[in-house]
Symmetry: C2
Subunit: 297 residues, 2 copies
């Protein structure tokens, strides 16, 4: 029997999307809330003896986590051979050290919770900064699928004469990879963060880019503050309206409007988090990583 893909989050498209890409079975997991707010969960497709793969993006995570943990525990209880998790967006990786005394290092707490719940994990471009690899956060085998090749292919196919721009030093390595794969030059701006919503972006040498369209690339778009400042900086330097290309679309309508107002041409995102701006499909790349965990399928 093929592996069994199930969605532990109501309405999430990833189980169906991966079933279609991989030719695996999409099972039915009944999932609803009781009137008192508790989660009800039932495997309509029996998981006994099967490779079970729970797939859902975990943006806005807190209300989704109990159902996910209950689904994983129940799959094991009902005799699943193994339980894997595909979370194209994995939350809680930004709080990866104790910046102030007493803070919860939620990356570690979250990693511990998931490591006890599932046998393996696939995600896309985890926001690892001070932590070098998923192995420092998760005690289970975990694959980080890189979006760079797919982003680079999108740039090459959609933006004539691009220059790839990173909004901050943190993004340099990643932006260099995307630019290299797209056969384009790149620049990196400098960012200063003063709080959750207060960010300024400063200078970089933007000369020699005549006739090029800037493509601002970032891994997460949330409040949009970082990219808004980067768009302003590029426009102030006389460059044409930049395309904003982002992997994880965590942003509100408000942030999208602020980007356009600041002078962005358009905002294009990958489909790790479902959003109207999704244009870059990572299903094939994620599917490949899943196949590596379940080779017999």
């Amino acid at each position: 029997m093929p592996p069994l893909l199930l969605s532990p989050v109501a309405g999430d498209p990833w189980a169906a999307r991966l079933a279609a890409t991989l030719g695996w079975e999409e099972g039915r997991l009944e999932l609803r809330r009781f009137p008192d707010g508790e989660t009800y969960l039932r495997f309509d497709t029996p998981p006994a003896g099967r490779e079970v793969v729970l797939a859902a993006s975990l943006d806005r995570p807190d209300p989704k986590l109990p159902g996910l943990l209950f689904a994983a525990a129940t799959a094991r209880e009902l005799g699943a051979a193994r339980v894997g998790l595909v979370a194209p967006y994995l939350p809680y990786l930004r709080q990866d050290c104790r910046f102030r005394p007493g803070e919860a290092v939620t990356a570690r707490c979250f990693g511990h919770l998931l490591s006890g719940a599932v046998d393996w994990l696939v995600t896309v471009d985890p926001h690892l900064h001070r932590i070098a690899s998923l192995g420092e956060v998760f005690a289970i085998p975990a694959t980080a699928v890189p979006s760079a090749p797919v982003l680079a292919a999108w740039i090459a196919g959609n933006v004539p004469r691009p220059v790839v721009v990173g909004p901050d030093a943190e993004s340099e390595q990643w932006v260099a990879a995307v630019a290299g794969l797209a056969g384009a030059p790149y620049r990196v701006l400098a960012k200063e963060r003063r709080g959750d919503r207060d960010v300024s972006v400063g200078g970089a040498d933007l000369s020699g880019l005549e006739g090029r369209t800037p493509v601002l690339v970032d891994d997460i778009l949330s409040t949009g503050r970082t990219l808004v400042e980067a768009v302003r900086c590029l426009r102030a330097a006389g460059l044409p309206p930049p395309v904003c290309l982002v992997v994880h679309a965590l942003f509100s309508d408000e942030a999208g409007a602020a980007l356009r107002e600041a002078g962005a041409d358009r905002v294009v995102t990958a489909n790790t988090v479902t959003h109207p701006s999704n244009k870059v499909d990572l299903a094939a790349a994620i599917a490949e990583a899943c196949r590596a965990f379940v080779p017999e399928a």
Copy 2:
């Protein structure tokens, strides 16, 4: 140093309430959401070497659970001597067996999750039905504080010539205890449940109750369907408008209005779940159970 009471749920009154009752310290746990929906958490009061008690009602549980688990893990990481949990309302106990194949037994999943997170647990009247005791669900020492003595005292002080009425057979043992402590007679109605929101309540011998005020007692008020039917049944039998006395107030304004419309005199609840109808204070009873876990304080 006295034990440290902290609220792992923003706005929950129980840490402050128990600190006042017990004379323990109420510490500060900073708790907020990042713009992307993740929880930020910081111990403003260092927990190192201390008996830490996290206190909050866990109604509408899913968005509250990640923060609670992160708080418990972080308290341990920061060197807390022990971490206890006071959850005056404990969710997920109603799904205590597999009614249909494939269902998650969330009582067991939830019990496993909390048992790994904290060292001891205090709650009030857990909704145990097919499970005989908290020990079958939790692998840690757990105390179920009975509300019956406090409910009985409230009845004795506020309702002249009461008759205590249970809405269903499930409530009999508990209603008998409340009635006994209040020195009042009791009756038990019969309930038939056809779905989450579809309930009918039927006959019991209601003769010989002339001049008595019925007090309908139940542990949980959620959709209100059970109590609405019970109120109608008592009114149809010619009894005066009943007082509805409930422990855990999980209900909406709508359910309260439906009860008054059906002919209830008023709805009175204990304060395990914060609600405008709270009139019965369980702080002293819960405090006593906490003292048993932290006797040196």
